[in-house]
């Protein structure tokens, strides 16, 4: 499974496979499969990675190699060099093959494009022309949403993946996402990797509050603390928004990254986000009440979360899985969960208030 096999393709130094004429892509893909009877071409979706940083193209091919181990797809990689003086287009094809259960070679085909120059509509048309029919389009937009993120394009998209932690202006970015969802009649599923990054923190929180002592102390919580790397501000705020939304708390006051909240019973709760560049992207979520302290922590690089629940001087400790760090791994875990991501949408208004 770990080993990817290049199938009948001479890999170029860029790792993107064979350079082909754009008009000949379908024919060349057909030849690719005809040349190999031992492998199976499988596809569950069209998976597209778009970047406006051409130097990312090779790295994205590596990402596809890893993603296709568990998600067979038609992969489309598109890099746009908008600063190039002359418009041009380069295309490459390759296939990523993996041994399924140590036996059968399962392959996903990949088509890569390098689009140069300014030409509106070219991105959309390139996508249009190379989708596998009937399969959903999962579109991973890397970095900032540019002016090319327009209705004609996103109307094609079934699932949009982005990472708000890479945005210079998250408010503006989210406004565009919300508008795009409205344009598509709310049908486009949106997935923020900054939200995915806190999945196991949220799961652990839910698990810890199943404990009767924790449940009992819930209404007495007076302090919540989140620790994160500064660049994961949106991840930290989304996590806090989730806590606030599900707890039924209200935001009273916002002072930088400190917040004053009130519970349904009128209790005051202090919430703060602290920054630790040496820690994990998200390194702590803690709840404090007079009788109970619940802490979920993660050390940098550690694949586990440490969970503790202390009441009356007595502590219980547990370990659990932690979220991946690399964006590609976060995408893989998102894909494995599927769903409409409705909780994320529910939390967004609270997040906007905290932002």
């Amino acid at each position: 499974m770990e080993e990817a096999l290049a199938m009948g393709v001479e890999l170029s130094s860029a790792g993107l496979g064979r350079a082909v004429e754009v008009a000949a892509i379908d024919g060349e893909l057909k030849k690719l499969w005809e040349a190999d009877d031992a492998s199976t071409n499988a596809s569950l979706m069209n998976f597209l990675i778009y970047t406006e940083d051409p130097s990312q193209l090779t790295a994205n091919s590596e990402t596809i190699l890893s993603l296709t181990q568990e998600n067979a797809c038609r992969a489309l990689l598109i890099a746009m060099d908008r600063e190039a003086p002359e418009p041009s287009i380069e295309a490459y094809i390759t296939a990523h093959c993996h041994l399924a259960h140590g036996k059968k070679s399962i392959c996903s085909e990949q088509v890569s494009f390098l689009l140069k120059g300014k030409s509106l509509g070219r991105l959309r048309n390139t996508v249009f022309a190379h989708l596998n029919s009937d399969l959903p389009l999962v579109f991973w937009w890397q970095n900032e949403l540019s002016d090319l993120f327009e209705e004609g394009l996103y109307r094609l998209v079934d699932r949009l993946i982005f990472d708000s932690s890479t945005w210079a202006d998250p408010t503006a970015g989210f406004e565009r996402i919300v508008a795009a969802r409205e344009d598509t009649g709310q049908s486009m599923i949106t997935q923020d990797l900054s939200w995915t990054r806190s999945y196991f923190f949220r799961l652990a929180t839910a698990g810890l509050f199943d404990d009767p002592a924790a449940k009992k102390s819930f209404s007495a919580i007076n302090k919540v603390k989140i620790v994160a790397q500064k660049e994961q501000r949106t991840a930290a705020l989304l996590l806090l928004a989730w806590v606030v939304e599900l707890s039924g708390w209200k935001l009273l006051l916002k002072n930088g990254d400190s917040f004053e909240l009130s519970s349904a019973e009128g209790n005051l709760i202090e919430a703060s986000i602290e920054w630790n560049e040496d820690g994990a992207p998200l390194s702590e979520l803690s709840f404090f009440s007079p009788d109970c302290e619940i802490k979920i922590t993660r050390e940098r690089g550690n694949p586990h979360l440490c969970q503790s629940l202390c009441t009356d001087g007595h502590c219980l400790y547990f370990s659990g899985p932690a979220d991946a760090d690399a964006p590609a791994d976060l995408v893989a875990s998102q894909l494995s969960r599927g769903g409409k991501n409705s909780l994320f949408l529910r939390v967004l208004p609270q997040f906007f208030e905290l932002l």
Binding site: T68, K104, F200, F209, K215, H304, H314
Partner: protein, 515 residues
């Protein structure tokens, strides 16, 4: 349940199924293979996936004089070998302190009293009462003792918002009478809603997918009836024989009781049931039990002879290796009259299935290991293509492969390229492994989690079990109690069963699907 959801708001919307509650799992028969190979690795894998509620305690209850340490070491050793997700030291070390061993004879009342004291002490330490899940994985002869002692020790009672549930492993009885007796004992100890009769086939991904395939795809359900379906075959083939001493159990059970009464009738009911009104446990099980209740009873030796073939394998060859005949196998009576193969024609007397035979076959020492359901559609009217060379090809077949190589395929007819009109069957094939690289959870993972979450959909209900035994008992009686019992057929090991089973279908112009 609702009260709890409100008190832990963070559970809301996190996953799209019932949430599992933290509990103490007490496993009876904890020194056995099932605990070491399946149950504890399943709990460990749930922890790896972050699905196991924090604070789950595991107590092994068995007769051997083991210590906590020795028990844990044995579990760890096996977990390293068999765990689906590998073995992570840190996670194991987090789980291991919550595993302990309780030594007692199953009949020893004091052992249950000390178990109750142990559980109470754990509650006290935690400062709250906890849920309790009793998993009976012992030999079946101890089921009664265990259940009665649990009741006597007060361990089966619900306490102030905390549940007490029991999972009972197969075999659930050996006849209708014994199953009814066991049900009386179980339900005298636990309420039916707290009783989970496990059938691990129902925890398999493809078994769960049967309902999705049927009811989430508009193209199948309109065709799923006597108008369009000619017959259905369910095959469960096993290439192994009686290795590892399994002859001792198997020779007392036989293929019909070991496999048909539970696994295969469960699959049959999933294939044949009406759409449930909802996906609640009873919504689904109400429909399943109707199917089993509608099975036409083969209740005379003549009917059994006509509709059931039993057989034993003779010595033969599998994968190039010589293998002994059934009666020559380890721990099998040399004069055994136990069937190692059975093929049945089942008729379901409902509006939907009237006249559609369901052929079920199961056996040891068949050419390969495979479990599948094949739905054979009727042929098209032969008015158009009967003049074509070769005539009309075979009808469409939809195959649901349960194991191995889980997936679904559809056979249809296609024109061969060329100027003449020739047709050949082609196959559209969906393989889980090709499309979803991620490995599915083991059946026991899903089932343990469901039980902790109070979802009994994938567990057999009392009436399902008893109706299945009623069907099987009639056949057993004809074989073993009638004056002129239907004969025991024979086939060479490595073959696809006796000719009598082939004739059962060929007499009706059908044949077994070649796997």
């Amino acid at each position: 349940m609702a009260e709890r959801s409100v008190s832990n708001p963070f559970r809301e919307d996190l996953v799209s199924r019932n949430r599992p509650d933290a509990c103490t799992v007490v496993i009876f028969g904890a020194t056995g293979d099932l605990t070491h190979r399946k149950l504890v690795p399943a709990l460990y894998n749930l922890a790896v996936d972050g699905e196991l509620p924090p604070g789950v305690q595991i107590i092994g209850f068995a007769r051997r004089d083991w210590t906590d340490e020795f028990f844990r070491e044995g579990l760890e050793k096996l977990n390293r070998k068999v765990s689906r997700t590998g073995h992570d030291e840190e996670l194991w070390n987090s789980l291991a302190p919550n595993i302990s061993y309780h030594q007692s004879e199953f009949q020893d009342e004091d052992g249950y009293a000390s178990l109750a004291a142990k559980l109470d002490a754990a509650d006290e330490e935690r400062g709250a009462k906890g849920n309790r899940l009793f998993y009976i994985a012992s030999a079946p002869e101890y089921f009664d003792d265990i259940l009665l002692h649990l009741k006597k020790a007060g361990l089966s009672e619900e306490r102030e918002g905390c549940w007490s549930r029991v999972i009972v492993e197969k075999p659930f009885g050996t006849t209708l009478a014994t199953a009814q007796h066991l049900n009386q004992v179980v339900n005298g100890t636990f309420e039916e809603k707290d009783t989970y009769r496990i059938d691990h086939y129902l925890g398999k991904e493809t078994a769960q997918n049967i309902m999705v395939l049927r009811f989430a795809n508009a193209i199948f359900e309109p065709l799923w009836n006597k108008q369009y379906i000619d017959h259905i075959q369910i095959t469960c083939a096993e290439h192994l024989g009686m290795e590892g001493g399994r002859g001792a159990y198997y020779d007392g059970a036989g293929a019909l009781r070991d496999m048909v009464q539970n696994h295969l009738l469960q699959l049959l009911s999933l294939v044949a049931m009406e759409p449930p009104t909802d996906l609640s446990a009873d919504g689904v099980r109400d429909e399943k039990v109707k199917v089993i209740r509608s099975l036409r009873q083969w209740d005379t030796p003549e009917l059994v002879k006509e509709n059931v073939v039993r057989a034993q394998y003779l010595s033969g060859n599998i994968n190039g290796n010589e293998v002994p005949g059934y009666r020559e196998e380890d721990r099998v009576n040399p004069e055994s009259e136990t069937e190692a193969y059975v093929a049945l024609r089942c008729m379901i007397d409902t509006w939907r299935w009237s006249g559609v035979p369901f052929y079920v076959r199961v056996g040891k020492r068949l050419p390969k290991k495979a479990t599948e359901i094949s739905v054979h559609f009727k042929e098209t009217p032969s008015v158009l293509f009967n003049a074509a060379p070769g005539g009309v090809p075979d009808g469409n077949v939809l195959v649901i492969r349960i194991q191995p190589d889980e997936g679904i395929s559809l056979r249809m007819n296609s024109k061969l390229p060329g100027t003449s009109l020739r047709m050949e069957p082609v196959k559209m094939d969906f393989h889980y492994a090709s499309s979803f690289g991620k490995s599915s959870p083991e059946a026991y993972e899903r089932l343990l989690l469901d039980c902790m979450a109070g979802d009994a959909t994938l567990f057999a209900r009392r009436d399902e079990v008893e109706e299945a035994w009623r069907f099987v008992d009639n056949i057993e009686r004809a074989w073993h109690e009638s004056e002129n019992p239907p004969p025991m057929a024979e086939f060479p090991a490595g073959g696809w069963g006796p000719t009598e089973a082939d004739e059962m279908l060929s007499g009706e112009g059908r044949k077994w699907r070649r796997l």
